[in-house]
């Protein structure tokens, strides 16, 4: 069994990718590309209860728990937001609830996304992170309840 990469390592990869870009245009093109490549969420998941609040665009997020690891799937009607989610999934998917809950996600700031996106949109990003951590917490509690 190969060792799973740590969240910090995955964050570092993204930061390195972004360091290759000279301009914001290139950064956005990359994010848009990620957004386009993220597989669309199945229609059955695109319902109100899976929506993440706090964003100008619509974001759907679902999570599954298998063999102690959390897998995220998400979609959005806006492609830049979808690209941002794609990075979050890249970093957080496939980790244990505890790892996800403790993730600092410093990469968001290091690639300039917190300062570059306006307050409201940044809150959208914050809302996504919060929702992902909430899922991890729910799986953790479920786990603990099952043990007792």
């Amino acid at each position: 069994m190969t060792a799973r990469p740590r969240i910090e390592e995955l964050e570092e990869e993204i930061v390195e990718n972004f360091s290759l870009f000279d301009s914001w245009d290139e950064k956005y093109e990359y994010i848009i590309d990620l957004g386009k490549k993220l597989p669309a969420l199945e229609e059955e998941h695109k319902k109100d209860e899976n929506k993440v609040r706090g964003c100008q665009s619509t974001v759907w997020l679902v999570a599954a728990y298998k063999d102690g690891l959390v897998e995220f799937k998400a979609d959005s009607d806006a492609v830049i937001v979808k690209g941002l989610i794609s990075m979050l999934i890249q970093v957080l998917s496939g980790h244990t609830p505890d790892e996800i809950i403790q993730a600092k996600l410093g990469f968001i700031d290091r690639i300039g996304m917190t300062t570059h996106l306006a307050q409201t949109r940044s809150n959208g990003l914050a809302a996504m992170v919060k929702q992902m951590k909430n899922f991890a917490l729910a799986f953790k509690l479920q786990n603990e309840a099952a043990k007792h």
Partner: protein, 414 residues
């Protein structure tokens, strides 16, 4: 030799831009192209320096003090009332009540006039293109009173369905609260005609002038509306300034809004009597500085001349409409024959938020979203639009920059 006044000179957008320092700044390393004027306009030096002058030279509390500073501040504050009266063509200065803006002015009418004069079973008509500020206050009072808020439908081209208006206007209607010019679509509504029809069945009319005051000559006596509201910050003035106009007899019949200083005549624990108009509705220390500076904004507009501004902006609107319609997949929402210089649009396969982000990256400020008109967005079956709104300092070159920016952004996104 006779000197020409500024309004007699040709419209010189370059020299006008010189008076708006913010237009010189850069955003994301590119020259700012500010096309979010329907949200708020930028401020000319006359306003910026006027505010500084007020705080540097004659700041004092008004109406009560007998010292020189208080007299100067009071005179400036009341001069602003005269300026507003003239700006909207009111008959009497005491018909002008200063508020924080249009929203507060509408709420004032809702919480005083409507609370007293609207009862169970009554109806308040609004249009399907109202800003939430001209819907929610009426819903609050309607719920309290057992009355109903009824929308006048909007047609596909973004004009009001005037046939439907005739049907929903009934003897139950107590008030028609209608936007003069739509913030989302630019549609200019036939408010004078609406007022005539409403008055014929005994209903009152409130006109929301938030978007019209900056673009159109306003004459409240000609419109014959009972109430008119506008925000100073959308007319090149400071945020937190604005006014309610009400016909004198109506304002006199209305109960007071906020209780406090300034609005009283005599206070005792047995019986308090209230001040006369307009002070009856201006409790507490008002926003003196911003209200004083509102006059400088109105003077600035007056000096250039509303007609000339309107003419120039209509040129921008026509030019931008033509140019935007050339963009493949772009659809303009709201094609009323009479519009202010506002263009809302959607692009097939492109989310407005994505466009907004990429345009901002090019220094171009537009608004994306539902523009606080969710019922209107529902009417067109869209979650939101991208909106470009022009002001007297907008240039044709900026519209070219918008079009080029859009073309590049759409290419990146699709």
């Amino acid at each position: 030799m006779e000197t020409l006044t500024r309004s007699e000179l040709l419209f010189d957008v370059d020299s006008i831009r010189e008076e708006f320092p913010i237009l010189k700044r850069k955003v994301k390393g590119k020259p700012l192209v500010y096309l979010d004027n329907a949200a708020t306009t930028q401020k000319p030096l006359a306003v910026i320096e006027g505010l500084t002058r007020y705080y540097s030279e004659y700041n004092a509390n008004i109406h009560r003090g007998i010292h020189s500073l208080a007299e100067e501040a009071t005179a400036a504050f009341e001069a602003s009332r005269d300026a507003v009266k003239e700006f909207i063509g009111a008959a009497h200065r005491e018909e002008i009540i200063f508020t924080r803006g249009a929203t507060e002015a509408i709420n004032l009418v809702a919480y005083t006039w409507a609370r007293k004069f609207v009862g169970a079973g009554d109806e308040i008509l609004v249009s399907g293109m109202e800003h939430h500020s001209n819907i929610v206050p009426w819903q609050i009072i309607a719920e309290e009173k057992g009355a109903k808020v009824v929308p006048i439908p909007v047609l596909e081209d973004g004009t009001l369905d005037m046939e439907a208006f005739q049907r929903v206007l009934t003897e139950k209607t107590k008030l028609v609260a209608i936007v003069h010019a739509s913030n989302s679509l630019g549609t200019i509504n036939p408010v004078k005609f609406i007022a005539t029809q409403a008055h014929a069945i005994g209903a009152k009319v409130l006109v929301d002038g938030s978007q019209s005051a900056v673009h159109l000559p306003i004459d409240v006596q000609d419109i014959d509306c009972d109430f008119f509201v506008f925000s100073g910050h959308k007319v090149y003035g400071p945020t937190g300034s604005g006014a309610l106009y009400g016909k004198k007899a109506l304002l006199e019949a209305m109960p007071v809004f906020h209780g406090g200083g300034e609005m009283i005549k005599e206070v005792s624990f047995e019986k308090t009597t209230y001040n006369e108009l307009p002070y009856k509705f201006e409790a507490g220390t008002p926003n003196i500085a911003d209200t004083v500076a509102l006059k400088f904004a109105l003077d600035f507009v007056k000096e250039i001349g509303k007609k000339k501004i309107h003419q120039y902006e209509q040129g921008l609107l026509a030019y931008a409409t033509d140019a935007l319609e050339q963009i493949k997949g772009l659809r303009i929402i709201g094609k009323a024959p009479e519009k202010t210089s506002v263009i809302s649009f959607v692009v097939e396969g492109v989310h407005p938020q994505d466009l907004g982000i990429l345009l901002d990256n090019k220094g171009i400020a537009v608004r994306t979203g539902h523009h606080c008109t969710q019922p209107l967005m529902d009417r067109f079956g869209i979650p939101g639009t991208t909106r470009a709104s022009f002001a007297l300092y907008t240039t044709y070159a900026e519209i070219d920059a918008l079009v080029a920016g859009l073309e590049r952004s759409i290419k990146t996104l699709l």
